[in-house]
């Protein structure tokens, strides 16, 4: 997996956007993720982050996911995480964040539910 952070942006159809995240979501790169999520947040669209190709998740990355989740929630929309990689899943479980994040096993499942 790449050490840099890259994004693949897709439309999930309807009011749903999808961003596939690749690489390290660390202290240096987390601000880039925040930036990429702003258009969906400000446009009032649900957003799904596919984290299957995230090779590292630092505390800053976790902080970004928590902040974005709260910001989307405050606007009446949802930020979802799908297909979390082992490192992402371990970080979430390590800090018992499952109840505070919206998690889906697959991107398709997330799109179906969020578009409904």
């Amino acid at each position: 997996m790449s050490e840099e952070l890259t994004f693949e942006e897709l439309s999930g159809g309807g009011n749903v956007d999808v961003i596939r995240v690749h690489g390290r979501l660390d202290t240096r790169m987390s601000p880039l993720l925040m930036e990429r999520c702003i258009p969906a947040r400000d446009g009032g669209r649900n957003l799904i982050l596919n984290l299957r190709a995230v090779s590292f998740l630092s505390s800053s990355g976790i902080g970004s996911l928590l902040v974005l989740t709260e910001e989307f929630r405050e606007r009446g929309i949802t930020l979802s995480l799908a297909e979390t990689s082992p490192t992402v899943q371990e970080a979430i479980e390590l800090m018992n964040l499952q109840t505070f994040l919206v998690l889906y096993g697959t991107e398709d499942e997330a799109v179906r539910e969020q578009a409904a």
């Binding site: 505390s59 928590l66 082992p86």
Partner: protein, 455 residues
């Protein structure tokens, strides 16, 4: 032929002088202690940089009765072999008399009485002698014509100067020294430093700069670097002396002796495994002892103070013989913990110091006599018995008061910060932070893969 005859004696004389200088330099070095001395929460660190023409600088650190530590710094007038012989006598006398006199003043007066008959005409010794009581943090000292003492106060991030009023040893006849000398005290608090130095630091014209470093500038340098510990102060002052110079050899001897109150370790997480050798070592051993063990037998990784460099931690774990067989989850958790500690050093310790580096060490522990045959199980056994050390010379970290974050509180989630420490506390079994040791800030960590994530 005539020319040869006239230059030969000069060459012989030149060689004799060179040989004499070499003997003097060897003699001077043999009298100086090596390394630092730790006493409870205190550390005493000396440093001596010899000039090309050997001067008469000297310092010593030694134990006294009741756990107290004696220390001395002196500048003998005169250079070359003569100055070294006086220094040698001073060293022997000081060590012989240290138990016989109970105050620094009495000891310095006794030194003068014993030295005076043998001092060459016009020779004298500028000297400070002090006694540290590690149980109270009080330094009692007397100053015979020595340069002023610089005291760094961590609480106010400011310096104080303490000037002695007595004459140097042997400078004035009669009982002038005994009449003028008196004991003074300095009470050190956590983070404080008592910086003693010879005049090679403050009075020598700096080569290439055309000025003296001077006391105000020394105070500024100490204030800036004291939070990183005595060794950082020594390095910064030495660098300031060399600033602009093409040579590493000082024009005059430069000697420093620093007494530092490093304070107790900050316990970020107490080990939960009762009886674990590694946890016991990290919790009770002097941090410098653990660092020394890491240097002897461990695996180092030097990292630039740049977040982009921290990707190297993964490769380092994979390449380290003791760690490379860890299962994927254990390796990922270990990388996360070491990354968070390192990122904290880069972001908060070194934020204004581009080009700085710091070190990450793996220090192996005692290996089992019959290690598991499964490579992954053997690696887990090894990692839980060893210790990780991060050594940095940045601004010490100020840990927050709260122990764990409560993510049920929406304000905590909305803030999204301060999660790193929470994360390493969840992963590591024990974390002890020693700010401002003689070797900089040291973070000692124990990782037990089977207990990671358990509260």
């Amino acid at each position: 032929m005539r020319e040869l005859n006239t230059t030969q004696p000069e060459m012989v004389e030149k060689e004799r002088l060179a040989r004499e200088a070499e003997i003097a330099r060897d003699m001077q070095q043999s009298l100086l202690p090596h390394g630092s001395v730790a006493a409870g929460s205190f550390v005493l660190v000396g440093d001596h940089r010899a000039a090309a023409e050997v001067g008469g600088d000297y310092y010593d650190i030694f134990p006294l009765e009741d756990g107290r530590i004696g220390f001395a710094i002196a500048d003998v007038s005169g250079r070359g072999l003569g100055g070294c012989l006086v220094m040698s006598m001073l060293s022997v006398l000081l060590r012989a008399l240290r138990f016989a006199y109970h105050t620094p003043t009495l000891l310095l007066v006794a030194l003068e009485e014993n030295l005076r008959p043998t001092l060459p005409r016009g020779a004298f010794v500028m000297m400070l002698y002090g006694v540290l009581d590690p149980t109270t943090g009080r330094v009692t000292f007397a100053c015979a014509g020595h340069t002023p003492v610089l005291v760094y106060r961590a609480a106010s991030r400011s310096v104080e100067w303490r000037y002695g009023r007595a004459v140097p040893i042997g400078a004035v006849g009669g009982d002038a020294l005994a009449r003028m000398l008196c004991d003074e005290t300095i009470d050190l608090e956590p983070g404080d430093l008592m910086v003693n130095f010879t005049d090679g630091y403050n009075e020598t014209m700096r080569e290439g700069m055309g000025d003296q470093l001077g006391l105000p500038r020394m105070g500024e340098i100490v204030t800036r670097h004291a939070p990183s510990g005595p060794r950082a102060v020594i390095d910064a002052l030495a660098a300031a002396m060399r600033d602009g110079s093409q040579s590493d050899v000082p024009l005059d001897d430069e000697t420093l002796l620093i007494v530092g109150y490093t304070g107790p370790a900050i316990v970020l997480r107490t080990g939960s495994v009762a009886g674990s050798d590694a946890v016991a070592r990290a919790e009770t051993a002097a941090p410098l002892v653990v660092l020394a063990a890491a240097r002897r037998a461990g695996a180092p990784l030097t990292l630039a103070a740049d977040l982009a460099q921290l990707v190297e931690i993964r490769g380092w774990i994979a390449a380290c013989a003791d760690l490379r067989d860890l299962d994927a989850r254990s390796a990922r958790l270990l990388e996360s913990a070491l990354y968070e500690v390192s990122a904290n050093v880069v972001e908060h310790g070194y934020r204004d110091r581009a080009g700085a580096t710091f070190d990450l060490w793996w220090a192996p522990g005692r290996t089992a006599s019959e290690p598991p045959t499964d490579p992954a199980a053997a690696a887990r056994e090894r990692v839980r018995t060893g210790c990780f050390v991060v050594q940095d010379r940045g601004v010490p970290f100020q840990p927050p008061h709260q122990s764990f974050l409560d993510f049920a509180d929406p304000r905590v989630r909305r803030r999204g910060r301060g999660i790193g420490l929470h994360m390493v506390r969840r992963i590591l079994d024990s974390i002890h932070y020693h700010p401002g040791t003689a070797e900089g800030n040291l973070t000692l960590m124990v990782f037990d893969p089977d207990r990671a994530g358990q509260t």
